[in-house]
């Protein structure tokens, strides 16, 4: 068998194994009865529900907004584009604490915050704050991935669609988006995962208050603080399981829809 192929597959399994081992050791810390009883607490159920709800909402929002942004960055030229791109990438480099602070300054007692509050939209210390924090945590990743996906698509496809009578917008939805499928998959997975795991920014912007703005990462932190390790690790485990299931479903789904290139390269198997 070809050595390089073997090496690549070996590496994949190595990292999978390492991660698997480390996740497994997390599972071994509490004893099972502790996990079960933790799962049944009102707090855990609340936090689980809120986590899933906010992450889903944020993921949908992120994808909705990052698609037009990624598309604009790839297809249109405007002045200062590379600065715009860099600024949009930047939050990836922020420790979550900094991002949280920045969002707090933006949406807190600022002009924008007061403006929104006049419409009854409160962001700081609220559930909306959770979504906002998750949104800005994940947006840069999605934009970057979607941008680079559109870069790889020949604009002639869009042109053919338009010459067949479809307008700019219809063409976008019927041609550009489906062609960007791979990148959309990748960015959705990254976004959802990032939203589920977002902690620091949520903590600062939404406060992280018990049974109110409490999502799983905060439950985890709160319970470590309480000294309630069983609860803490259970919320960690729950987080892992939920994310794993979501990602697995998505990966399966991607597998079905993925490119047809592979079917033709029987020599490689």
């Amino acid at each position: 068998m070809e050595k390089f192929k073997a090496f690549c597959i070996f590496l994949s399994f190595l990292f999978t194994f390492l991660l698997f081992m480390s996740i497994l050791s997390l599972f071994l810390v509490p004893n099972p009865s502790e996990i079960i009883s933790s799962l049944k607490t009102e707090e855990m159920i609340y936090s689980l529900k809120l986590s899933i709800a906010t992450s889903l909402a944020s993921t949908v929002l992120v994808i909705l907004f990052s698609i037009p942004v990624g598309y604009a960055l790839s297809r249109h030229d405007f002045i200062g584009k590379s600065i715009v791109k860099s600024i949009l990438d930047l939050p990836m480099a922020f420790p979550e604490l900094v991002l949280g602070l920045a969002l707090l300054l933006l949406f807190g007692q600022s002009f924008i915050g007061k403006f929104l509050e006049s419409f009854g939209i409160k962001i700081v210390f609220t559930k909306i704050g959770i979504v906002i924090a998750q949104f800005f945590t994940a947006l840069p990743y999605a934009v970057r991935v979607i941008y680079s996906t559109f870069e790889g698509i020949n604009p002639r496809y869009e042109f053919v669609s338009r010459s067949l009578g479809y307008g700019e917008l219809e063409t976008f939805f019927r041609i550009s988006l489906p062609l960007a499928k791979n990148g959309l998959f990748a960015s959705t997975i990254i976004t959802f995962a990032r939203c589920m795991g977002a902690f620091g920014a949520v903590l600062i912007l939404a406060g992280g208050s018990y049974m109110n703005t409490e999502i799983l990462p905060i439950t985890l932190y709160l319970n470590i603080s309480y000294g309630n390790l069983g609860m803490a690790i259970t919320s960690g485990i729950l987080l892992i399981i939920i994310s794993f299931i979501a990602i697995l479903i998505f990966e399966k789904f991607e597998g079905v829809n993925s490119s047809n290139f592979k079917k033709v390269e029987s020599i490689r198997n």
Partner: protein, 249 residues
């Protein structure tokens, strides 16, 4: 850190201990460690972090000396049998104060002002962080809890958040530790209002040697370090950085 390696014959030459220390104690702790290393030849790996994170590390992989930001965590650790109970020593006092944004927009002068209508109060989550527990206790002691709790906009899991919210004007008042607030006050970010001794509840910051030290065979060094930072000699350094050393004697 330990520049004079040439000198041998020191008591703990070649030994290493791991200290888990509250991040708020970093400045004096750095100095204490340098001194300890020079004196004994031991190497101290210090691991600063939030009390909760330190507690997490202590329960998963351990460390030799445990110095969280508040007594509560030491008590939790003792309950789980992670530290040697007879080694617990208080190092400094931990004094709650009222913190308000620069210029004190709501003109807070004392604890009872926290109950005034329209004052946005943030406090630590009484279950999650030590300052939360103390703040609640203080307010209850002064029969203000019911009224103040109406003004509380958020209860935070970490003490850092409290400082941030005051400094960025998201809230009008909070109760935090004095040692944490002094620096920010010096830089004009916040203002501090002391709480009279009789209204206040003063806490301590403890140190303790863990069960891991015994397992690793670092017990002697850990014990030496544990005594050193609570010693008379150390108390000067604590004072220098704005802490009030605990009167051990």
């Amino acid at each position: 850190v330990n520049e004079n390696k040439s000198q041998t014959n020191k008591q703990f030459e070649g030994k290493t201990i791991i200290v888990l220390c509250g991040a708020g104690l970093m400045k004096p702790m750095n100095e204490l460690i340098t001194n300890f290393e020079n004196k004994t030849g031991a190497k101290v790996d210090v691991h600063y972090g939030g009390s909760a994170e330190l507690f997490g590390i202590l329960t998963t992989t351990g460390g030799d000396v445990f110095i969280p930001g508040a007594y509560k965590y030491t008590a939790d650790a003792a309950k789980r049998g992670l530290i040697l109970n007879n080694t617990i020593k208080n190092i400094t006092y931990h004094i709650p104060v009222i913190a308000v944004p620069k210029n004190n927009p709501k003109h807070i002068k004392n604890l009872s002002d926290l109950a005034k209508p329209g004052v946005r109060v943030v406090i630590g989550d009484p279950k999650a962080c030590a300052i939360g527990k103390v703040a609640k206790a203080i307010l209850e002691k002064n029969h203000l809890w019911t009224n103040v709790s109406k003004n509380i906009v958020v209860e935070t899991p970490t003490v850092n958040q409290l400082l941030i919210y005051i400094a960025t004007n998201q809230a009008d008042a909070t109760i935090i530790w004095e040692d944490m607030a002094t620096w920010a006050e010096g830089k004009g970010k916040i203002e501090i209002i002391k709480i009279p001794k009789d209204e206040n509840i003063i806490k301590t910051i403890p140190t303790a040697v863990t069960v891991y030290a015994k397992k690793d065979g670092d017990y002697d060094v850990a014990m030496a370090f544990n005594s050193y930072i609570s010693s008379e000699e150390a108390s000067k350094i604590w004072k220098k950085w704005g802490f009030i050393p605990y009167n051990n004697s």
